[in-house]
């Protein structure tokens, strides 16, 4: 098993932390993992992205040329990463951030209306874990117990009070994700 995932969006959407939660969940599942972020000026208001690799073997390069899954949260990220998904791979996008939907027909495309759901429930901070929940529904490569362990390890202790809300968001994300084609 080797899964190479790119998560991309605006700085502040929780892209890097979503990657960290996923990577830490992989650690809990005893996978080899790598987390390679974009860093620097890209993070300040511009686009941010992170490549996460989970594998049952040693990871050669943490830098990927193509991806099994792309999770994109804005138009710029969709434009940039849609061409880099492997044939047969998965593309997940948040409906709110995308004006021109993906066009490729040789990949599986899913959408998740997480931004609206978070606005409705007033839980904007659960946005990234909700998206993560959508992804994990499609690719249950890590068990839920390990995701929760990974989440706990990723968060500072002062944020542990929000663990139940995050768990609920992950489950809700799984319910919200829709197949586009």
């Amino acid at each position: 098993m080797k899964e190479t995932i790119i998560i991309a969006g605006f700085g502040g959407q929780g892209v890097l932390s979503m990657g960290k939660i996923l990577a830490y969940s992989g650690v809990m599942q005893d996978f080899e993992v790598s987390w390679m972020p974009s860093y620097g000026p890209e993070m300040r208001g511009g686009t941010a992205n992170v490549t996460v690799i989970l594998s049952d073997r040693k990871i050669s390069s943490p830098i990927a040329n193509e991806y099994d899954t792309a999770i994109v949260l804005n138009q710029q990220s969709l434009d940039k990463f849609e061409p880099l998904i492997k044939t047969g791979g998965v593309l997940i996008y948040d409906t709110n951030g995308v004006v021109n939907p993906p066009t490729r027909t040789d990949i599986e495309v899913y959408s998740i209306d997480a931004a609206s759901e978070c606005a409705l429930t007033g839980q904007s901070k659960m946005f990234n874990t909700m998206i993560l929940g959508g992804y994990l529904k499609l690719r249950p490569i890590v068990e839920m117990s390990n995701v929760m362990e990974g989440l706990k390890k990723s968060l500072p202790e002062r944020a542990w009070a929000y663990l139940p809300q995050n768990e609920a968001a992950i489950i809700r994300g799984g319910e919200l994700i829709r197949k586009v084609r």
Partner: protein, 363 residues
């Protein structure tokens, strides 16, 4: 895994954890991207409350390296970290430290240059790290980590080699290794040495108080008598020959039956290890030699592969071709040695390297 525990950490973060756990006495630094997390993590961990380690943000890189100079002279385990432009400012101090034969550890998390350049990863400081940087005939021991675990381990190794040979060590990493997170296993806490232990171990050279000895120790690099300075230089050169004989370290991946060899270090080596996988899948017998010590360079290992009949070498590095000089010296004309690289903070892809290998060497 009681004391040991698998963590997910950034390369820069583990430098901080490693400094504390390997019994470092003092860190002196000045922030610069992409390595600022080293001091940030140290400040969060507050080791002055546990091991007694000093963490100090100096007013400049010049100041940092000279604080290291002072600390090292007293036999303390001291270090600094910076990124390319900051390390340039430290080069004068590094020359003085090497001349005075003082141990210390410097971490360079390289970014694109020359000049202020970019904050993205690069390997443009190979010449600076391995061939001098500062003035005069000196060398640093240069370690090139290619994983977060090696970032951790090389803090311990770097200090050990620095004290073994009384010379500064450098960890030559880059923005990619510093910023990425991987699994890491932390070692047991190694206690800091007491002043008595330092006097006992390093009293022959450290300026830690004269005690009952007849002569006081002096750390200086000023020798107005040329004959005396030549003696100092000869002693340094004899030490470098010892280091070159005993300390080269490298890793060979799929080299046993390889017809072609990529030579790459650090983050480039990680990318090129994927190139090896891709080439092998196509039936090309490709191997990777990854220098772990850049000084001393693993010349003999490369020469042995050339003598065994390897058809060609490709050096892949994130610069305009620096390490390729040392590969050519090692191969010594026995086989073609080509170079491929990207600059300005751009990383090459594993398939890009494979295409270059095919066009330049396999044809």
């Amino acid at each position: 895994m009681a004391a040991k525990d698998v963590k997910l950490m950034k390369g820069n973060e583990v430098i901080a954890h490693a400094a504390i756990r390997y019994g470092c006495d003092g860190y002196f630094g000045y922030p610069i991207t992409p390595q600022s997390e080293v001091m940030e993590t140290l400040m969060e961990l507050r080791p002055w409350e546990t091991t007694g380690m000093v963490v100090l943000q100096a007013e400049s890189e010049l100041s940092s390296i000279n604080m290291v100079y002072g600390g090292a002279a007293t036999g303390k385990r001291v270090m600094t970290s910076s990124s390319s432009p900051g390390v340039s400012l430290m080069c004068e101090g590094l020359s003085y430290l090497a001349a005075c034969e003082l141990p210390c550890l410097v971490v360079n998390c390289q970014r694109g240059g020359p000049g202020l350049g970019t904050i993205q990863p690069s390997q443009g400081d190979y010449y600076q790290a391995c061939k001098g940087g500062g003035h005069g005939d000196y060398h640093l021991i240069v370690l090139a980590p290619s994983s977060v675990q090696e970032m951790y381990d090389f803090v311990g190794l770097g200090f050990d080699l620095a004290f073994k040979y009384r010379t500064p060590s450098m960890i030559l990493a880059d923005g990619a290794i510093g910023q990425m997170m991987e699994k890491v296993v932390l070692s047991e806490q190694r206690p800091r040495l007491s002043d008595e232990e330092i006097a006992e171990r390093y009293g022959s050279w450290a300026t830690c108080g004269k005690g009952k000895r007849k002569e006081r120790n002096v750390a200086t690099s000023l020798f107005m008598d040329s004959a005396e300075l030549e003696e100092v230089n000869l002693r340094l050169q004899a030490k470098y020959r010892k280091i070159e004989a005993a300390e080269p370290r490298w890793e060979q991946i799929e080299c046993e039956d390889a017809e072609y060899i990529i030579v790459a270090y650090g983050s480039s080596a990680r990318i090129c290890s994927a190139t090896v996988e891709m080439a092998r899948a196509e039936g090309i017998k490709l191997g990777l030699l990854r220098p772990i010590t850049l000084y001393p360079f693993p010349s003999k290992a490369i020469a042995a592969l050339a003598e065994r009949g390897v058809k060609g070498f490709l050096t892949a590095e994130l610069n305009a071709g620096q390490m390729v000089d040392d590969v050519r010296l090692a191969v010594n004309g026995a086989a073609p040695v080509e170079y491929y690289g990207r600059m300005g903070g751009i990383l090459f892809n594993s398939d890009e390297v494979l295409e270059v290998l095919k066009s330049k060497l396999i044809k």
